[in-house]
């Protein structure tokens, strides 16, 4: 149906009718006046002329209203969808008397065109964004994760999904820390950094080395370096971008070195277990019938097996420290009980050399915050060294008291060989041996290096004072539990996780 032809027809009819009616009116009025005989011909002429003019003006007015109304509605429709200017309401097309179909049709065309334009614009914008997000992000050969200001993952590129072996889109909308349990090589975690830069930076960059992620449901660990870019006011809400540089293979070679140590330790421990077991059986069942000399040999054998077991533990712990794998669980412990346990276990080794360990533990010591297993190693190593270097002297003194800084200080004092002043500064170095004095300090390196690392991880200090031929005193400090818990602002139920070199296994310390 040609709406324009219909409109033209409507218009023709309308105007034609109006003109015809007006002419009829004027003629009729003229005829009536002419018949009345009371007016002159001139008056009739004048009146008819006036009436014609008035009628023409009326026709003009009506024609203008009917003919221009559609155009006005159309104009309003265009203005309605115009992006600039004051908002104009959509025209009401139902009350159009003439050309309703034409105008409705035209207005619909206008609206459709506008929405097409809008779609095109939107598509263009999205394409630009896609180029931004997909082209750059997906051609980047590195896993990329974008989070918003609430730590929610809003984008991860394809490489990231492949890297973590996660189905696509599984990360979107997840909390970064819930999705990834990252372990950092030191206390400077991403979370800590973000909390800081969110407070006092507009943009910031940072990077981390040797970050670990254990993948949920998978028996794999990924190791990588991490770079982050933070932008407080990114218009897309891309607050922080994290880029991962995978080094799993390189870093896990360290792990494999570790597992070589673990395997060796396992192999060493099996015969050790047996040796200690058989020694015990012989000691218990034959011991009473043996001569004192043979009884002594039996004890020395037992002490030697224990010493070997302790050394194997040292190897393992040094490997763990080297590999940032030693984690400490600091718990509240009674220090006198810990000391007595170690001394009880070591006493056989002292006794077979005729040495007595004397203790002087201050009464009312506060409880301490220690990892029981690790701190045991420290005391055991210091005692082992004292036994080794007592050289014929018969006593070792162990004392513990609160020092002036409010730390619990423990000292192990022997009266034997002593250490040359030239060696003292290096005594806690790994495997340190002074060649001139090899015979004097050979073999101490491992235990002291380990003790140093463990004490430091506890937040304490280890020190030595010594005089050749008069003996050595090794002292270390540890935190009273209350002080430690206060410093870490944590509840006392779960203990406190620490690592050698301040290695924090996860960020639970900072959570909650």
């Amino acid at each position: 149906m040609d709406f324009y032809a219909k409109y033209r027809k409507q218009l023709d009819w309308h105007i034609g009718l109006l003109v015809f009616a007006q002419q009829l009116l004027v003629m009729g009025a003229g005829w009536l006046l002419y018949e009345s005989h009371r007016v002159t011909d001139l008056t009739v002429l004048l009146l008819m002329s006036g009436l014609s003019v008035l009628g023409a003006m009326l026709v003009l007015h009506l024609v203008r209203r009917t003919a221009s109304e559609p155009i006005q509605k159309l104009w309003q429709a265009i203005q309605h969808i115009a992006p600039q200017g004051d908002p104009v309401p959509a025209p009401a097309l139902d009350d159009l008397r003439i050309g309703q179909e034409l105008v409705s049709n035209l207005a619909n065309h206008v609206y459709q065109m506008a929405s097409v334009v809008e779609d095109v614009e939107r598509t263009n914008a999205k394409q630009a964004q896609d180029i931004h997000a997909n082209f750059i992000a997906n051609t980047l050969p590195l896993p990329l994760i974008v989070i918003d200001k609430n730590d929610t993952i809003i984008y991860a590129n394809e490489v990231a999904y492949r890297y973590f072996d996660i189905p696509a889109d599984e990360l979107d909308g997840k909390n970064l820390y819930t999705a990834f349990d990252m372990s950092f090589a030191n206390e400077q975690t991403v979370e800590l950094w973000l909390n800081k830069v969110r407070q006092d930076s507009v943009t910031a960059n940072n990077s981390w080395e040797r970050v670990r992620i254990g993948l949920p449901g998978q028996n794999k660990t990924k190791q990588f370096d991490l770079a982050a870019h933070y932008n407080k006011s990114n218009p897309m809400g891309y607050e922080t971008m994290l880029v991962l540089f995978d080094h799993t293979e390189v870093y896990s070679q360290d792990d494999q070195a570790m597992s070589f140590v673990a395997l060796s330790v396992h192999e060493l421990r099996t015969p050790l277990t047996l040796l200690r077991g058989y020694i015990e059986v012989f000691d218990e069942e034959l011991g009473p019938n043996l001569t004192p000399e043979l009884q002594g040999f039996m004890q020395k054998m037992d002490a030697s097996a224990q010493q070997l077991a302790a050394f194997v533990d040292n190897i393992l712990n040094v490997a763990k420290i080297e590999d940032n794998q030693l984690t400490l669980q600091l718990h509240e412990e009674k220090w006198d009980e810990v000391l007595k346990t170690v001394i009880g276990d070591i006493s056989l080794r002292a006794n077979v050399r005729g040495i007595t360990i004397k203790t002087d533990i201050a009464p009312d010591l506060p409880t301490v915050g220690v990892d029981r297993y690790s701190i045991y190693e420290v005391v055991a190593n210091l005692l082992d060294n004292a036994i080794k270097y007592s050289r014929g002297t018969k006593e070792i003194h162990v004392s513990a008291a609160l020092n002036k800084d409010g730390m619990v200080e423990t000292s192990v004092k022997d009266f034997g060989l002593g250490i040359d002043g030239a060696i003292l500064p290096h005594i806690f170095d790994k495997f340190y041996r002074n060649h001139r004095n090899r015979s004097q300090i050979g073999g101490t390196g491992l235990g002291l290096y380990l003790s140093h690392a463990i004490v430091q991880a506890h937040g304490g200090q280890i020190s030595v004072s010594s005089k050749v031929d008069e003996g050595s005193t090794f002292s270390f400090t540890i935190f009273p539990y209350a002080k430690l818990a206060d410093a870490n602002k944590t509840g006392d139920t779960n203990g406190i996780t620490r690592g050698a070199h301040g290695w924090i296994k996860n960020h639970s310390l900072y959570r909650d």
Partner: protein, 135 residues
């Protein structure tokens, strides 16, 4: 420590251990202390024995043939498994774990002992101190 009178509620022990000399030593010490001890040398047989018989205590090595000790432990502690094992599981191993792995194991087990660090007598002392399971 009175070794001849262990808690009568914890008498039956299964030792899952592939190192024959070690299981022999442990069995000897435990038997002398009044426990009855069965030994299994591999994970699969150990697991079936633990599930079919009624042991009070399972001594579980981690490096064992067929099924690893960790798998045995997980199965014994799985609430969906029937019949359910209600005894104690004590890990006895010389294998050094990563600390987080060990922590995971310790959560499921009732004890974790490094064999090289204890003698058979110390093992007996440890078992004697175990609380009997909740009825």
């Amino acid at each position: 420590m009175d070794q001849t009178a262990p808690d009568p509620q914890l008498k039956k022990v299964l030792c899952i251990e592939d190192e024959h000399f070690i299981s022999e030593l442990y069995a000897r010490a435990l038997t002398k202390a009044g426990y009855s001890v069965d030994v299994q040398l591999d994970g699969q047989k150990g697991l079936s024995a633990a599930q079919t018989d009624t042991y009070d205590i399972v001594l579980l090595d981690l490096m064992i043939p067929n099924i690893t000790g960790i798998e045995v432990l997980r199965t014994l502690r799985d609430p969906k498994q029937t019949p359910r094992f209600h005894g104690k599981v004590i890990i006895t191993t010389n294998l050094e774990q990563r600390d987080d792995v060990r922590a995971d194991i310790e959560k499921q087990a009732d004890g974790y002992l490094v064999k090289a660090e204890i003698t058979p007598r110390q093992l007996v002392e440890f078992l004697t101190k175990l609380e009997p399971p909740q009825a």
